[in-house]
Symmetry: C2
Subunit: 329 residues, 2 copies
Amino acid sequence: MADVARVAGVSPMTVSRAFKRDASVSEATRSAILRAAEDLGYVFDATASNLRSQRTDFVAVTIPSLNNANFAETVSGLSEGLKDRGLQILLGYTNYDIHEEERLIEQLLRRRPEAIVVTGGRHTDRARRMLENAGIPVIETWDLPPHPIGHVVGFSNAAAVRGMVDHFVARGLTRIAFIGGDADRDTRGTDRRAGFIAAMQSHGLDATRLIAAGIPPISMREGADAMGRLLDTLPDTQAVIAVSDLSAFGALTECQRRGVDVPGRLSIAGFGDYEIGAICVPPLSTINPHPRDIGARTAALILQVLAGDGTQTSVIEVQPELTIRQSSL
Amino acid sequence: MADVARVAGVSPMTVSRAFKRDASVSEATRSAILRAAEDLGYVFDATASNLRSQRTDFVAVTIPSLNNANFAETVSGLSEGLKDRGLQILLGYTNYDIHEEERLIEQLLRRRPEAIVVTGGRHTDRARRMLENAGIPVIETWDLPPHPIGHVVGFSNAAAVRGMVDHFVARGLTRIAFIGGDADRDTRGTDRRAGFIAAMQSHGLDATRLIAAGIPPISMREGADAMGRLLDTLPDTQAVIAVSDLSAFGALTECQRRGVDVPGRLSIAGFGDYEIGAICVPPLSTINPHPRDIGARTAALILQVLAGDGTQTSVIEVQPELTIRQSSL
DNA sequence: GGGCCGGATGGTATCGTTACCGTCCGGCCC
DNA sequence: GGGCCGGACGGTAACGATACCATCCGGCCC
């Protein structure tokens, strides 16, 4: 920076200001400085800036998996909402493992983010403590934790599935199965399964048609395998709700391979409104949790909190949308 | 850190060492320090550490899109290979836009990564200059650029597609179309399309059955729409290669909706070996570029270069694998 | 014309950690 | 017993930017 200042004929202080957004540097001086910097190949050192200013301009985000269209949408909405304020995202993924999440949170907090967004409401005790003491806004998403750490932008996975159960029951279907949600690791999956069981019981129906699908992320293949086991063991099943559209699609393909008519003999529904559910034949009924909205509203919340609007924590509940398509008609 | 030192009864210097990996601190002292830190809720400040030590222990990575199983696999392989050496990944995505990539690269370099991995070999001039002058290892992946900036771990998209064309020709199919690759933004897509054209011409076949699919990322829906246009305008087409498995699957669904038998009347192939291609009915022929290997070999290369093994640049070519399934048999 | 104001710029200390260099001390060798 | 060695720990300066305060000067008001 001193070199740039020398070449541009100004003080380092002015160079520093030229790299800021709204500092008072005349336009002529600024462009001269930026040109000198470009010529010299100078690259602004964010670590020094961060240390001195005690601001890093990034928001830490943890998601269970990189390769998931839903979480990618949330990150995208978040990123979009933050970029006007110059906030960048520091992303980490946990592989659906809360111990991995704990390690990740520790690493992320060391880098002094302005805020931290975590997916889900279940954490190790130590992770919880770290988040509570971090001294920055904490937002839990994709869930409605009973005891939030800070802010929440989420929805009830259980209530969302209840809507789908009601849809099936209204169509006169009673022998309904659920695929997935058996792994303790995926709390949203287990919540969906718990919602299924509660909804079935409240209708006075048998809630024991539960097919395990393995550890998350639940693949299409695992959905297909689960459907295979379901057809083998409980062939009179009339409808299936899968923990995600991906496993629902896998289940659908298994039906196709076995010549089981969907929805004629069996109705299928998924969760997440992934693109595949809208385009496959027949298209899948699903529940759209509006992942991009979750990101966008999280971004808005972060901006509001960082601007200092009060210190109370907010719980923002987004409404999942029941989307009925041919696979359950 | 001074507070922790006081509580633990040692000097700040010793606390600093206790947080390192292989510093000479007695085990008793170290655990006392870590306990004191935990009690005080002390969080190590990575920004200060980075500044003083001039090491950040992270590798910057740019990918076109978060929500893409292939790139996610590469990042995962990379991450896995780097974590033993304590290197973390700082990930950014470009939305398939080289100007966005330029901005991203600038932001990433400001954070002083130990190395930078970019997806693809086409960049803006300024991005190229920044990478050349960054003074850290640069690795271009998923491509074999004619003029590499530094190291390369990639493959020839064009050559990979040629293998698929050869497969079709060997089966006696001659009226072959290509879906996608028309957008300038996705260089890998355009390379695949160019490879298709070259391969067709070398067989003396008509290489003009090219169907546009829109701007990347090419969705399943766009694959379906493209297939619709293809069936409308060139109904005698015998085989289709799509720019990715996702668009290939979309194309397949369009055939299903129209009652076009695959592979009876039309063969379909994709690219990328996504899970959907393996499980859909019929399963899709595809080309597997081994994305996780790309990540793993990139990680190994980075470790080797950072360890100081010579200064020459290496070009590592991975071999895509032709995977023939029922959709083209 | 003197005083005042605000935009543009400069100087200095400092953010929290670690590189570098010392110190201390117990053990071992000749 | 003196010398040497190495493990464990401490003191100080410095990484490269910016917060904070000071300065300078042209323009405007009364």
